[in-house]
Amino acid sequence: MPSDARPSVLTRAFAEIGLCSEFIVTFFLRFWRRPFEGRELLRQMDDVGSKSFLLTGVTGFAIGIVLAMQSRGTLMRFGAEAVLPSMLALSVVKEIGPVITSLVLAGRLGAGMGAEIGSMRVTEQIEALEVAALKPYHYLVVTRVLACFFMFPILTLWTDAIALVGGYLESILASGMDYRIYFSTAFESLRFSDVLIDTGKTSIFGLIVGLVSCYLGYSVRGGTREVGRAAMKAVVMSSLLILIADVIIVRISLVLFGSL
């Protein structure tokens, strides 16, 4: 095969998977080693968490209200309006809250991380950091990925809480349900594993978003056009991998903890 021949799509796909795997393994080999870059980690956590709070909060509130409004009519047909808080809590805590929060954050953070790191790559700022004896991987990648890992569950908890409040507001307006009955019924159907596992899985979604976005930005070659494509690919790949990972995690949790 001549050396200047363009590789096939399959070859490029396998090469991409290989490079991504190397990037991920490098992260797990380096994130617990010095330098820890604590200040940069806190700055990234603030960017991921505090600055995304409004977006996820509004999303959660909308989810709670819409889900309550949509479900009420169906439940009323069967005379099961009283189970609305239970249904809302289970839906939000187990599935809708974690997945929607992660997808929203993937859209916001994936594009930002991919574009920021990609711009630094094409403007040779990463090479400059290496020349300055700073470890750009620790400074740029590890801090962002860990920030996503820590902040996704916290934002998800807030999204769940705000969604339940939104559902409660809808219940007040629609049926005047007492808050004690609402929250008592809502928590009646939940288990520890529902909160811990289904909220904890968003840490894995955070890892996916951080690693995929940082890899795509870190591996940009060329000009600003590639930076834009990397940002777009970061959002698409992160969202897709979140959904695939969700299926796998739910399946594993059902095997380990049952369906009750």
Partner: protein
């Protein structure tokens, strides 16, 4: 706001949310309260799962921890429950554990039911008596069988009512046939008449009846005296149970025979009735045939043109009436002659008419009465 402060608030509030949620869930599952473990056994748990609620008088007092399979085929399933310490004093060793559905479409839960006579409070690892849940399929089968039976009964009733409306069968005839009513009215009238005559007869013969009763009482007293002494057939009849038993058996046999005879006689009575009716109709037909121009000559040749029974009766009655009329006329002639003779004798002997005339008139009247009779 400083970014670190902002981040700190977010992280702490998130942690608080998590803790609150865990406590809210834990308080409902009695995770953070003191509990005791008790067990119960069922032949069928109807889908009861670990984590299901345990209720006492409608209040959650615990959770189902495990549902263990039996040790041997067909053995009971063991359900382990954690019961809150607060409810320990309420739940006794003979409290029944029943599996029920939480609402119409809810999951299965355990309901603890207080006994009428409560025993001691439960302790850790006690075993409560379990009551198996209703088997919905069994109830459905029973209901289906009941519905089928009811349907059959309704069909039978419909057939009976149809027969009744058509006037068939005993009930139909009772309702729609007026013969029974007429016969009942006649029977009532007959009964009233018989009772009236009995009363009249009893009044007339009261003295005689009293004498007869006194005589009968004396006779009975004599019989009883003999029976008491143990002599004679009656004493044996009274004192020997074998005779009683044999008499009882004989009475049963006689009753059966009498029933059979009654049945036979009623059948024969019916047959005789039908036979006489048939014979009457046949006689009517033959009588009609005798007067028919086609068969008349045949009967004349055979010498069978005798009168019908009712014609013979009519003829005999008319002959009797004629004879009675003739006799009556003769008696009237005799009476007229006697009166003439009497008038003639009174005219010839006017002085001696008082005593002998009265006697002669008495004789004459006596003769007249005797002739009249």
């Amino acid at each position: 706001m400083n970014r670190y402060v902002r981040l700190g608030i977010l992280i702490v509030s998130g942690a608080l949310l998590l803790v609150l949620a865990l406590f809210a869930i834990g308080s409902r599952t009695f995770l953070f309260s003191r509990v005791i473990e008790v067990r119960t056994q069922f032949n069928n748990v109807a889908g009861l799962q670990a984590g299901a609620s345990v209720q006492y008088q409608g209040v959650d007092v615990g959770r189902v921890e495990t549902v263990a399979l039996p040790q041997r085929p067909g053995g009971p399933l063991t359900v382990t429950m954690s019961i809150s310490e607060r409810a320990k004093s309420l739940i006794r060793k003979n409290t029944q554990a029943q599996i029920k559905s939480d609402g119409l479409v809810g999951q299965m839960i355990i309901v603890l039911v207080s006994p009428d006579v409560p025993a001691e409070p439960i302790e850790d690892d006690d075993i409560l008596p379990g009551v198996d849940p209703f088997d919905l399929f069994e109830i459905t089968d029973r209901a289906l069988a009941s519905v089928q039976g009811f349907e059959r009964a309704a069909q039978s009733f419909e057939e009976i009512m149809r027969d009744v409306q058509l006037g068939e069968g005993t009930l139909g005839r009772i309702i729609y046939d007026s013969t029974l009513y007429v016969e009942m009215v006649q029977t009532t009238g007959e009964t009233r008449r018989i009772l009236g005559s009995l009363a009249t007869s009893a009044e007339a013969n009261a003295d005689l009846l009293v004498d007869l009763a006194a005589t009968a009482a004396e006779g009975i007293q004599s019989i009883l005296a003999k029976a008491d002494s143990g002599d004679g057939t009656l004493a044996l009849l009274l004192n020997d149970p074998r005779i009683y038993n044999e008499l009882l058996a004989a009475t049963d046999t006689l009753r059966t025979i009498a029933g059979d005879l009654r049945s036979v006689s009623s059948t024969a009575e019916g047959a005789a009735l039908w036979g006489s009716l048939g014979a009457f109709r046949f006689a009517e037909l033959m009588e009609a045939a005798k007067h028919n121009w086609l068969f008349k000559r045949y009967f004349e040749e055979r010498g069978s043109m005798e009168l019908a029974p009712f014609e013979m009766r009519e003829r005999a009655i008319s002959e009797s009436l004629e004879e009675i009329g003739r006799r009556e006329r003769e008696l009237l002639e005799w009476q007229m002659r006697l009166e003439e003779q009497e008038a003639r004798m009174n005219g010839a002997q006017p002085d001696s008419s008082s005593a002998p005339g009265a006697g002669g008139q008495q004789d004459g009247d006596g003769q007249q009465d005797g002739d009249g009779q």
